[in-house]
């Protein structure tokens, strides 16, 4: 399931010897590439959850929207490389627009009730899934990956690294850098940080918090669209593709702590590596349970997540 399996995959019961190091590095890369997918999905969630405290279950369907955008663009622009490149900004705008619409129609009425937002957006995600089924049909569809991203790169020592995984890693890295810059440097970023730190004070200082919320939702949902484009490189596109990924991404946000991106980045990769290692040593299903237990144990130590903003609220 999900973003697993990429590279040099030896059997666990092979005898450990010279290959051990190779296998370890291969598993590490598998973990990192799982982490990159998680990171792309979780970035947008961390942004909206951190600022507004609402859980957007429809985030997974924004991923789906990004993926289907890629599919549709490939019907128009047949060159796979170009359609993928063009899909990145288009999917960002499509998913972002959906996010803004959702915020404007529903979520902004529910900021006082974060838990209810979770249920409402779950309803929205059901509707969007069915919409996708009605438009594109229930069976999964597939996009063609560009030539450049289909092969492997062989590293010394017999390690092979899949190009599409590298591309996703680069995309996740680029998204983190761009988002960090946007938050640090731009006027909008300054306003977002102000609202995250103290909403009331920001409002008193003349920051239009409602408009800032909407822009945050645009960016957060847009990132989901980009994650969707990336996922087309890994597997088929289907109406329920978002549901499976979204919970892992939420766990990343919960464990990472809100209000800061570095927690999300660290935890995404940590969970990716943990899962890959667990999967290698046991099986996928046991690894999932291990990850869950690790998260509950971690929350005993830091219930607010890895990093939190210091606030004076009683939490």
């Amino acid at each position: 399931m999900g973003p697993g399996g990429a590279t040099a995959r030896a059997h666990p019961h092979q005898q450990f010897g010279v290959r051990t190091v190779t296998v370890l590095i291969g598993q590490l890369f598998t973990g990192v590439s799982i982490g990159a997918v998680l990171l792309l999905i979780a970035l947008g969630l961390a942004l909206t959850f951190g600022q507004m405290g609402v859980i957007n279950m429809a985030h997974g369907e924004f991923i789906m929207a990004g993926a289907y955008t890629t599919y549709v663009l490939q019907q128009v622009i047949t060159a796979a490389g170009w359609s993928l490149l063009i899909a990145l900004p288009v999917a960002f705008v499509v998913a972002g627009a959906m996010g803004v619409l959702l915020e404007f129609l529903l979520i902004r009425r529910l900021y006082a009730r974060p838990l209810d937002t979770l249920l409402v957006t779950w309803g929205v995600s059901l509707i969007l899934q069915q919409l996708a089924r009605d438009i594109f049909g229930s069976p999964n569809v597939q996009t063609r990956a560009p030539e450049l991203l289909t092969g492997n790169i062989a590293l010394p020592g017999g390690i092979t690294v899949a190009n599409n995984r590298l591309f996703i890693l680069a995309l996740a890295g680029g998204a983190v850098v761009a988002l960090t810059l946007a938050l640090r440097v731009t006027p909008l970023g300054r306003r977002i940080r102000a609202v995250v730190q103290n909403r009331d004070l920001a409002a008193v200082s003349g920051i239009p918090t409602a408009r800032v919320d909407r822009m945050t939702f645009f960016i957060g949902s847009g990132l989901a669209g980009i994650a969707g484009v990336a996922l087309t490189l890994l597997g088929p596109i289907g109406p329920t593709m978002g549901t499976n990924l979204i919970i892992d991404a939420f766990l990343v946000v919960v464990v990472g702590g809100i209000g800061q991106l570095k927690g999300t980045v660290i935890v995404a990769f940590a969970l990716g590596v943990l899962q890959a290692t667990g999967e290698y040593l046991t099986t996928l299903s046991v690894a999932k349970v291990m990850v869950f237990i690790a998260i509950v144990a971690f929350l005993q130590w830091r219930p607010q997540g890895l990093f939190t903003l210091r606030t004076r609220s009683l939490a």
């Binding site: 069915q130 929350l299 609220s313």
Partner: protein
């Protein structure tokens, strides 16, 4: 710092409402509850079996199992504010415990359940299956196992004050992990298919309509008992405390109570109810599988509660039965339409009618009296925005 005593939570909250005891004396209240209880019992035990065909009655039995889960969610979420999106886990634990026993009983002593020969290629029964051969172990386990899991998770999580959306996500992740585990261990759990084709129920043949009717009566009786238990809890001092924790956890803590324990009790009781529901679901439907307990069914348990009225006693039951009935009626003929409708129900009810349909009744009743009285049905108050937590 001279203003230490003034706690910020109180400062931001509206004035606390006086405790809403029923206007009439408790004796009249009890009398009304007894009448309602008798009416419900008459409906379930006399009217339904007379009016409904065997097929419809077995469907109703299935819905009533869902309603049992809903009673627990009403307690934990409606009264306690814990949005648990993983009740399917407890439903599943109860269901699997019962199904394992029934499979072993079907196979007969010394034999293995049929599916294990199919994919497991096991020579003997796995160790953790063995105790379930005894009904003295399996029957208590259907309730105690879910309660134990809820106790462990709840005490870890609530003590560390993990709450709100964090708790919801964790409970959902638990459901995801459980399903993946069940599917992954196909040889001993039946995998995606689950435990199917259950034929006997403690010596009674489940294909016989008479025995199906007996199962229905057991389920209806259990549901009534659970309702009585939930009512007792809600009416007690504990119930008041639970609502207080929901509305202002910090204030309850300042008063000297331990909110973690208060929440834990409701969560564990809800888990036990879900486990019992799962256990009775198995003889009623004849199957338990991961598809019945995963993320999607878990969250669907919640929608019925939201529609009926999360903080009321009967709202969750009626809502759960109504939603389950609507699904059967609509999803067979128009599967797509049902999904849209279900999504819309989530959106419209939760966003615009947070008290559920019960709050409509509360509104109507207030209008009849001409005087505003604090309705026990519509006691839901929108909560203050949570801060960093």
């Amino acid at each position: 710092m001279t203003t230490v005593a003034r706690d910020p939570v109180t400062a931001a909250d509206p004035a606390p409402a006086p405790p809403t005891r029923p206007a009439a004396g408790p004796s009249r209240h009890r009398y009304r509850a007894a009448v309602g209880f008798a009416f419900g019992a008459a409906l379930l035990f006399a009217v339904a079996p007379l009016v409904l065909s065997d097929f419809r009655l077995s469907l109703l039995a299935k819905y009533l199992c869902v309603a049992m889960v809903a009673v627990g969610i009403g307690l934990a979420w409606g009264r306690g504010g814990m949005l648990t999106l993983g009740q399917g886990v407890f439903f599943g634990l109860g269901g699997y415990a019962m199904a394992m026993h029934l499979k072993l009983a079907d196979a007969g002593p010394g034999n293995m359940p049929d599916f294990m020969m199919l994919y497991g290629q096991l020579d003997e029964l796995p160790l953790w299956w063995r105790p379930f051969a005894s009904p003295w172990f399996a029957l208590p386990a259907t309730v105690l196992l879910p309660m134990a899991v809820a106790f462990v998770l709840g005490s870890l999580v609530f003590r560390r004050r993990v709450r709100g959306a964090y708790f919801a996500i964790l409970s959902q992740a638990l459901a995801a992990a459980m399903v993946i585990l069940l599917i992954g261990q196909q040889g001993t759990t039946g995998g995606t298919n689950g435990l199917t084709d259950i034929q006997g129920f403690f010596g009674y043949d489940l294909d016989d309509p008479v025995n199906q009717r007996m199962v229905y009566f057991i389920i209806a009786g259990t549901l009534l008992a659970l309702l009585a238990l939930a009512r007792h809890l809600m009416q007690s001092r504990y119930g008041e405390l639970l609502v207080a924790v929901r509305d202002s956890e910090e204030r309850v803590r300042f008063l000297g109570y331990d909110p973690a324990t208060v929440k834990l009790v409701a969560y564990v009781v809800a888990a036990g109810m879900a486990g019992l529901a799962g256990a009775l679901f198995v003889p009623a439907v004849g199957i338990i599988s991961p598809a019945l307990i995963g993320i999607v069914p878990s969250i669907e348990f919640v929608i019925g509660v939201a529609i009926g009225g999360r903080a009321t006693l009967l709202g969750p039951v009626l809502g759960a039965v109504a939603v389950a009935w609507a699904r059967t009626a609509l999803s067979e003929r128009f599967p797509g339409t049902w999904t849209y409708l279900q999504g819309l129900l989530f959106v419209v009810v939760v966003a615009f009618l947070p008290g559920g349909l019960a709050s409509l009744i509360g509104l109507a009743r207030r209008r009849d009296d001409g005087e505003p009285r604090p309705s026990r049905l519509g006691r839901f108050r929108p909560r203050r925005r949570e801060g960093a937590a």
